[in-house]
Subunit: 403 residues, 2 copies
């Protein structure tokens, strides 16, 4: 009888508040600047990967969201992750053979794999699915192989699949230290604070409809490296200062500081995209109206305290970080100016039951909010609002659960 | 019988190819970086100012497009221009009195003025009407007062009305030298090349419809100075290099170089606007689609030569610089993707009779142009296409002409 060894794990999405944009080494995926992200709860968004190993498998195969990728030999980033985890497994097997004797060790490093990976959110939503996906692949492999290494060590392998995947290996607040070595051995993720460090911090994701798919981040960031005359200044003089401030802001749970740097760094990332030649655009008119709305929302606070912070990755979707008490007001604002199509439940699922018996978009606006600041957009301009919180890192799934 | 002294002059619009954004002195209007512009033909766009002086006028009055500005005492920029030209007139009168005797000199510097200023294009179109308007005011005054000063000297006064007005005092290609002195005495416009230096260079202006009026440039640029962490790098390291390249490009009539720097500098200006906090947006989805269209149009050239260059000021309107042979192709492209409302003549007037018997927007696309690069936009997204050329500086109008 054949024996199949199997592991399943899930991994989270992370959303950067100090942005990664530019590689100094495109093969090892070494960045031109450090970055910092918040890991989001897997209750709402996650990748899930099941990996089987068997001596009977004739080759290693990969299914993404149920569709086999028949060309995995050409997928260098995948091959990097498989090769590096296998190498560690092989070393571990050799050590075990010495310690326990040759017969007691399972030669998993020699078996082919069947890998099934899926996201519980549409890939097209532009929610950094490659980060959670590669983090999940590498984490599941490390569990299947029982690798005796730290999460930070593991992050260096995930980094070679997709740069920002290294940050999805931790929950809470995570920095990707850029490192300085040529071999990438010091370019790794570290946890700045765990999930429960700042329980009030929550996130709203606005999935923004976009007619045109922008330039891929892999391609776009290197065009920026090659053509922007502002990027080097950002890398050398702006990001290092912001990293320090942001780490302090998180340690001190200082939302004012956190929000200010988050918005400024999102703006600057899109500024260097625009300074690229030809220019790269990810924000559209809806994204820009969300920025105006949040700017106005923040100005309603009489003490000049920021209440919410927007950030945008390589696409038009907005992620809004805020603290718990502002969530109902913000959801209502978004729903007023960016109403969904008629399928209400698909537009806003209300996981925390904040609007029971109330209609979102029809509650009173915050006091002092200038309601002429932006127009009401056509239905479906924002397709979906997701309400989520800070979450944990990857987890092994012991039993098959419904996705 | 009362005697009225009167002068009428017209002044051109200028469109910068190296952008002015930021003041080091907001009263004297001294910029943080030099800039360079092309003066457009007054056949299509101009300001026209008539100034009368009379000892019988009880006060100085101003009409803008037929409506009196009853609060001109509070208009400091206007007062700066009136005061400085009057001061020069007074000096001149004193000199004349010495040379010719006191009775031969008209004391115009003591007379009140009636000033009528109008644009032959809508102010709301966002075509830098304050630049042509202040240039026209100062030029007309200099003619009325018969001031014995150079155009560059005069540009320092226009600069105190509206920074970029100093560049509208010359035709052709004009640099605004930023200067370094605190009193602004070396912050002035100089002509790089006259109108007929580069006869093939032409311009298309796309008037883009915009729901929301952006932040005024006066306010916006100082917010950028105060909050952008990229602007200083642009000022110190990027613009000086670009100024040299651009002056060379113009002298050599090198469209490749001219186009590249024009587009890059427009992009960077909008990048530092986006790096402002809160961010400033002038480009909208239509502006961005025009950029994509021009980028694709340039890529159709097999020799990788640039054929057209976009530039955007503090608004969504595109100005496209190109050489004569590409004009019909470009007008056709714009009309295909950004069709006008049904009033065809108002959409495109065809001053040079390039489309007699042909329908714009329905001619074949350039060979190799990917027609899926942008969608066809709703009618009226571009309200008007203006086709114009490089033009002369301000001119005195001897007879009253229909505007």
């Amino acid at each position: 009888m054949e024996t199949i060894y199997e592991k399943t794990a899930t991994s989270p999405v992370n959303i950067a508040v100090i942005k990664y944009w530019g590689k100094r080494d495109t093969t090892l995926i070494l960045p031109t600047n450090p970055s910092l992200s918040v890991t989001l709860s897997q209750d709402h968004l996650h990748s899930k990967t099941t990996i089987r190993a068997s001596s009977d498998f004739e080759k290693t195969r990969l299914w993404l969201n149920g569709v086999e990728d028949v060309d995995i030999e050409k997928n260098k980033r995948l091959q990097n992750c498989l090769r590096e985890t296998r190498r560690l497994r092989k070393e571990y097997e050799e050590k075990l053979r010495k310690d326990k004797g040759p017969d007691k060790v399972l030669p998993l490093s020699e078996y082919n794999l069947h890998i099934c990976s899926e996201n519980n959110f549409p890939t097209a939503a532009g929610l950094a699915s490659s980060a959670s996906g590669f983090a999940c692949l590498v984490y599941t492999l490390s569990q299947l192989y029982e690798l005796p290494i730290s999460t930070t060590e593991l992050s260096k392998i995930a980094r070679q699949g997709s740069g920002s995947a290294c940050r999805s290996l931790f929950g809470g607040f995570v920095a990707w230290e850029m490192g300085s070595k040529d071999d990438g051995s010091d370019s790794q993720a570290v946890q700045i604070a765990p999930r429960d460090h700042w329980p009030e911090l929550e996130a709203l994701i606005c999935i923004v409809s976009d007619a045109k798919k922008g330039v891929s981040s892999t391609e776009g960031m290197q065009t920026t490296v090659n053509t922007s005359t502002l990027l080097q200044h950002r890398i050398e003089h702006v990001v290092p200062v912001r990293m320090k401030y942001m780490i302090d802001a998180i340690h001190e749970r200082d939302f004012q500081k956190f929000a200010e740097i988050t918005m400024q760094d999102s703006n600057q990332f899109h500024a260097v995209c625009l300074d690229t030649f030809p220019p790269i655009f990810y924000l559209n008119d809806v994204s820009r109206a969300i920025i105006r709305m949040i700017t106005e929302y923040n100005s309603t606070n009489s003490e000049k305290k920021l209440k919410a912070a927007y950030t945008f990755d390589a696409g038009p979707n907005a992620v809004i970080y805020t603290t718990s008490e502002n969530i109902p007001e913000l959801i209502n604002l978004i729903a007023k100016y960016f109403p969904g199509n008629d399928d209400v439940k698909n537009y806003f699922f209300d996981p925390f039951q904040l609007f029971v018996g109330k209609t979102i978009g029809e509650q009173p606006l915050p006091l002092g909010f200038n309601d002429q600041i932006i127009p009401v957009f056509p239905k479906g301009s924002v397709k979906q609002i997701l309400h989520t919180k800070v979450g944990d890192g990857p987890k092994v799934v012991n039993h098959t659960i419904a996705n």
